[in-house]
């Protein structure tokens, strides 16, 4: 029995295998190559999303900031600026998140391309300093991930917005985890019936929760506590931290 098997194997190795065996081998090897190719493609998607989108966002954000600061410097009539869709109109500074949100461009719009350049401003929401709710969304993972450390924010933290007109300081007043469908969080008066006339100047910051998922949104609200003109210069805290860096 054992002797017979050995002979057959030796014969098989020396002679050409039958056509059906060669066909099976071809099918199996092509299938294997397809599976390996899919595996490599999936790995490349992960590399793209976790690494490359951050590289691109870093460059886009820096060029948007530079362009905006040049515009402000060359501008003689600062009050005439309305935000242009998909372009930067301001910068955000959060001392608590200084490593991530410091001169981060505020982009008009919350489309994917807008959020890859900085922090997006909901087009129908109030502008910084206006009565109502200035609502912003930013990535927490990938695409520059400005709000990756949103979990470190604390009640009472200050968020500074700089526009062509002035500096706006907002103090954070509360946060909430909501569903992606909870559009009321960007209402002029969040939590009140739609159409309620806004009396306060509010700020809303939205990102995803959990960090690598999209099942919830993490929302922080703040209220305006101080306004400074461009001539008055940046708020003390921003000026001090900028010097320290």
């Amino acid at each position: 029995m054992a002797q017979g098997l050995t002979t057959a194997d030796a014969d098989g190795r020396d002679s050409v295998p039958p056509a059906s065996s060669r066909r099976t081998w071809t099918v199996v090897s092509v299938l294997g190559e397809i599976l390996m190719t899919i595996g490599v493609l999936l790995l490349l998607v992960v590399v793209y999303d976790l690494w490359w989108t951050n590289v691109v966002a870093e460059q886009q954000s820096a060029s948007q900031r530079e362009e905006l600061q040049n515009t402000w410097r060359d501008q003689t009539n600062a009050a005439s600026t309305l935000p242009i869709p998909a372009e930067a109109f301001g910068l955000m500074y959060i001392p608590r998140l200084k490593a991530d949100v410091w001169g981060t461009p505020l982009i008009e719009g919350v489309e994917h391309a807008d959020l890859a350049k900085g922090i997006g401003h909901f087009p129908d929401s109030a502008m910084p300093g206006e009565a109502g709710n200035a609502a912003f969304a930013g990535h927490r993972a990938t695409n520059g991930e400005p709000l990756k450390n949103i979990d470190q924010l604390q009640l009472g933290d200050l968020v500074y917005l700089e526009t062509g007109i002035g500096w706006y300081s907002y103090r954070l007043t509360g946060d909430k985890l909501v569903l992606p469908t909870d559009v009321w969080v960007v209402d002029p008066v969040p939590g009140q019936p739609p159409g309620t006339q806004p009396t306060q100047q509010l700020l809303t910051l939205i990102t995803c929760n959990p960090r690598w998922g999209s099942t919830q949104r993490w929302v922080w609200w703040g209220e305006l506590v101080d306004v400074r003109s461009k001539a008055q210069g940046p708020p003390d805290e921003v000026a001090q931290l900028a010097e320290g860096s």
């Binding site: 090897s29 092509v30 190559e33 493609l41 490349l44 998607v45 793209y48 999303d49 490359w52 989108t53 919350v110 489309e111 994917h112 959020l115 997006g120 909901f122 969304a137 930013g138 990535h139 927490r140 993972a141 990938t142 695409n143 709000l147 909501v178 992606p180 469908t181 909870d182 559009v183 969080v185 960007v186 939205i206 990102t207 995803c208 690598w212 998922g213 999209s214 949104r217």
Partner: protein, 62 residues
């Protein structure tokens, strides 16, 4: 299919190796510059805005 490609690359093994690497890098560049930027926003990851119940890429953010 890769064996077929390898057999049809001209030159000695070292040159074939270099050509294979270059071909791979071209594929990666096409994926990173055009294919993935189109594909990844369609995936249900990293949505950060609020909108209606339909998927965000069908209705646009609120």
């Amino acid at each position: 299919m890769y064996a077929y490609l390898w057999q049809h690359l001209p030159g000695p093994t070292a040159l074939k190796f270099v050509q294979a690497i270059v071909l791979f890098l071209i594929v990666v560049a096409v994926l990173f510059l055009w294919v993935f930027p189109w594909l990844v926003p369609l995936l249900p990851f990293n949505d950060v805005t609020v909108g209606a119940a339909a998927p965000i890429w069908l209705i646009g953010p609120a």
